[in-house]
Symmetry: C2
Subunit: 219 residues, 2 copies
């Protein structure tokens, strides 16, 4: 396995820390629909997605769900090991959206490495900050749902102007058109891609489901 794609700081760990992780690593294959982790009572461990797709969501008392974020190949799931963080006070469930193969690092092992290693702790910080950003984005979507409509409208308009369904356009350019940041557009387009509305490639956005984009845009 190429563990550096999950931990860019791998070479900053000591040999002992690397062995601790490698020796405890478990491979697991789960079928689509499997509930892998169920709330903070579960101490599943860190999940490293080899292939497949996971969904992290919260559940209301009435059984309603909302997806908080998704995880794809080479993503790392931190909150399935939330038992190692005292301050985590929410219950996240994680299920396989597709047949998925993953590695699991036991939470206790990861906590031990993180306690001694500043690079590991700082990397964990970055992973948490990235998830935090996804959650803040979700709040904005829930509260205001406006930019997604604007992006959908912009893409459809560009498609009409160019008379094409493959738009040669950078995220930066779209951001400049709409008065926002490139990162925000990148995030939005990835969401569109997850939903099957567009397909992204270097320097291009392909419109795959114009009907849904039109529905999103509204009138």
């Amino acid at each position: 396995m190429d563990i550096q794609s999950y931990f860019p700081i791998w070479n900053q760990l000591t040999s002992a820390q690397q062995h601790l992780i490698l020796d405890s690593l478990m491979e697991r294959s789960v079928q689509k629909g499997t509930l892998i982790h169920n709330g903070s009572g579960d101490c599943t461990g860190l999940l490293l997605v080899q292939s497949g797709q996971l969904r992290a969501y919260i559940l209301s008392e009435e059984g309603r769900e909302i997806t908080v974020y998704r995880l794809f190949d080479r993503d790392l799931c931190l909150f399935s090991a939330s038992c190692m963080l005292r301050s985590v006070q929410f219950d996240l469930a994680i299920e396989a959206e597709k047949d998925t193969t993953l590695w699991v690092i036991p939470a206790e092992i990861y906590r031990r490495v993180m306690e001694e290693s500043a690079p590991a702790a700082n990397y964990t910080n970055e992973v948490m900050a990235a998830r935090f950003s996804e959650v803040m984005w979700l709040i904005e979507q829930i509260m205001w749902k406006s930019l997604d409509r604007r992006v959908a409208a912009f893409l459809l308009e560009e498609g009409e102007i160019e008379g094409a369904s493959v738009l040669k356009i950078t995220h930066e350019t779209i951001a400049n058109h709409l008065g926002t940041h490139r990162e925000v557009i990148t995030r939005m387009l990835r969401y569109f891609q997850n939903e099957g509305m567009v397909k992204l490639s270097r320097g291009a956005v392909e419109l795959r489901d114009k009907k849904r984009l039109e529905e999103l845009r509204g009138t």
Copy 2:
């Protein structure tokens, strides 16, 4: 100042790291209403609240606001130094809700300490996890708004049963009544307190604004 109340891991820092922080610390007094930090472009630094009250909120493109969390005496504000975390991709604004005195640690100094010190990085992780929990709680409130009503209803009912506005009751007991966790109730009651509906003291909850509790409970 008692810096250990902000950094329980203070004694695990080296003398050089402690001096780096102490020598860079700036005291700042701001009046109620002051905008202290405005989005990720601002690299204000870590804020340590001496006295007063801060509000962290996000702003929609149309100018609508939503409070994400509040900070009180001895709280530490991390996201005002979000420039030190590459993965933070959201804009939080922080304003003084009351006249506030605070210390500021420049982001660059804190980042340097965090890079070398596993205890500092792990503590930062815990602070971020605590804020993450507040944000997840907010999503649940926004999406489902049910437990707050249940807590309000429970407190009003207890007040009627006891014929008193000061309830001698622990958070644990309330949690057991409502089938939830103590931490969730503590969080909810602190929110009620921030809103002026109750006043908390050891082993007691005083109902301060029954009218608003009744409104919250609904019919």
